[in-house]
Symmetry: C2
Subunit: 326 residues, 2 copies
């Protein structure tokens, strides 16, 4: 029998789950849930679109519900709410609030006797796993995370909120000098400005002033003021044509030392180069949906993270097949 998957929320991530489930022959999409009027939603697959208020009727027809809402307001409410009723996965990524979110979700999942996995994707997610493994493999060392080259939705949105801006895309770019310094094993101290630069493509309204907008962007606290920021003005058409994809990626590098006098340098580098951030994220989530289903089948319950899940739990392969590829 297939693992029956439900999707809640039909944005980029929800569409990614819908598209990439085909890579998992042991899974089947059974419904998409939305807060919108279901009739207003055009979806790519041939499954029912259901209003979220009717979700309880699907309690016994879904093995894992994938929550595809945002971390700011959707997931802090939805994940605890639905973990009482379904095995769930979310991609909650507000790093500083993860402990609170974990507690809330854990309480619900235990009450409902369900398994919930939070903060799944690539950061948090695949990057977190690599930070943990490499820190354990090289306890004497430093871990560096670089993001990009890629589109930051948060930073793009921040520019779009400036008066006079019609549309904008912001790319986060790791600086090669910093990357290469880290790769050399010299364990440098790097500031925020040393590690990344920000490159913006901005389309303005007719009467907006380029110099003023550039100043508004570069001086924006938290988002840009601590970085070297490059602002390029382009037409809206050019934005649509050349900057409509959502590439992303990044690097986790552990630079450690071993030996009697720590004389040997050992470098572990993990990197992602993604054409589509939401599609890769959804693809990672689907692998973990398999693990959530299996834990639930074993009678486990409560909130989990990617740290709690053994790699074999993610695979369609049998233990015998896994031994052969070890």
């Amino acid at each position: 029998m297939s693992i029956r998957i439900g999707i809640l929320g039909y944005g980029n991530l929800g569409r990614g789950i819908e598209t990439n489930i085909k890579g998992n022959s042991d899974m089947e999409l059974v419904a998409i849930f939305t807060r919108r009027n279901p009739e207003d939603l055009t979806i790519a697959s041939n499954v029912p679109v259901v209003n979220i208020r009717d979700i309880e009727e699907w309690k016994d027809r879904i093995d894992v519900l994938i929550l595809c809402g945002g971390s700011a307001t959707d997931l802090p409410e939805q994940t605890p709410e639905f973990a009482r009723m379904f095995n769930v996965i979310d991609s909650f990524d507000t790093h500083k609030n993860i402990p609170t979110h974990f507690d809330n979700v854990n309480k619900s999942a235990l009450e409902g006797n369900k398994v919930a996995l939070i903060s799944c994707g690539w950061d948090p997610g695949a990057f977190s796993i690599n930070r943990l493994y490499t820190e354990c493999f090289l306890p004497n060392g430093n871990t560096y995370t670089f993001w990009g080259p890629g589109v930051s939705q948060g930073h793009s949105d921040a520019i779009r909120r400036i008066d006079g801006v019609k549309n904008a895309i912001q790319y986060t770019i790791p600086k090669d000098e910093a990357l290469n310094e880290v790769r050399s094993g010299s364990n440098p101290n790097l500031t925020v400005r040393d590690k990344h630069k920000r490159v913006c493509y901005v389309a303005l309204n007719e009467n907006a002033n380029e110099d003023e907008i550039s100043e508004d962007i570069s001086s924006m606290p938290n988002y840009f003021d601590e970085y070297d920021t490059e602002v390029n003005y382009v037409s809206e058409e050019e934005l649509r044509q050349y900057h409509s994809k959502m590439p992303h990626g990044g690097f986790v590098i552990r630079s450690g030392n071993t030996g009697t006098n720590n004389e040997n340098r050992e470098i572990i580098e993990y990197s992602l180069k993604l054409d589509s951030n939401p599609e890769f994220t959804s693809s990672v989530i689907l692998a973990y949906a398999r693990a959530v289903y299996r834990m639930s089948q074993k009678g486990e319950s409560g909130c989990k993270t990617v740290f709690d899940i053994a790699p074999s739990m993610l695979s369609q392969k049998s233990n015998e097949e896994l031994l052969k590829i070890l």
Copy 2:
């Protein structure tokens, strides 16, 4: 209380465990076991050196015994033998014999109610984990493993066995063209020759003929005949001075596609750049010793692989601390 570690076999790997245990403040080395006369062994630490025939006396004084012998003849006998008496870890790396080794060790460990972890290190080990994770994250794709640049002991030994060779070191070098082709996402079909070349530094006996030896090396079946091989003749002194370290490393690259028509390329790359192969291997094994100890404390038994172990089991950090670094 510390996790009490024993080492069996005092070669490069045993010395690596002894040296790098200091990075794990929750562990303590308690004894080194050897088949040699203990009095003939000069060790770096201040623990007893014990003849292997007396190992049973240490049954209750060791939490995890790390088996540091070779895969050809030592481990196929030692791991099943000692898994009846101790929780054990080995670095068995004869890939095609892993399923048989697993079965033998599993039987003993179940009988002795102990936990055994086989094939730990970086390949098999860290590379295996990454091959599995990335295959699950990108089910539609190809995985490429490259080894090096680094010293292959097996290939160096093979050259040393040739008549007329005094000493030799062989470096396995991944070819940049192949690496870059894989990184581009083009999913190339690569032959053995496309991926790696072999570079040898050889010191000859006085009357040996360079041309003949070069031919002997390049045509050696399995080891060299399918590769581009470069042979350099150097003095024994030069070998000692410039080629006595044991650097190694390599790359695991998963090149996958997502999207409705698989139009998006997603590349995951994991790489190691190691000054010391045995020290890094020992450092990975020590992290897994923590997991073996914990599984044993939980009452588990039998043979495990790195695939069966959740990342959190390797860490000294508490669950609360782990949530913060997620």
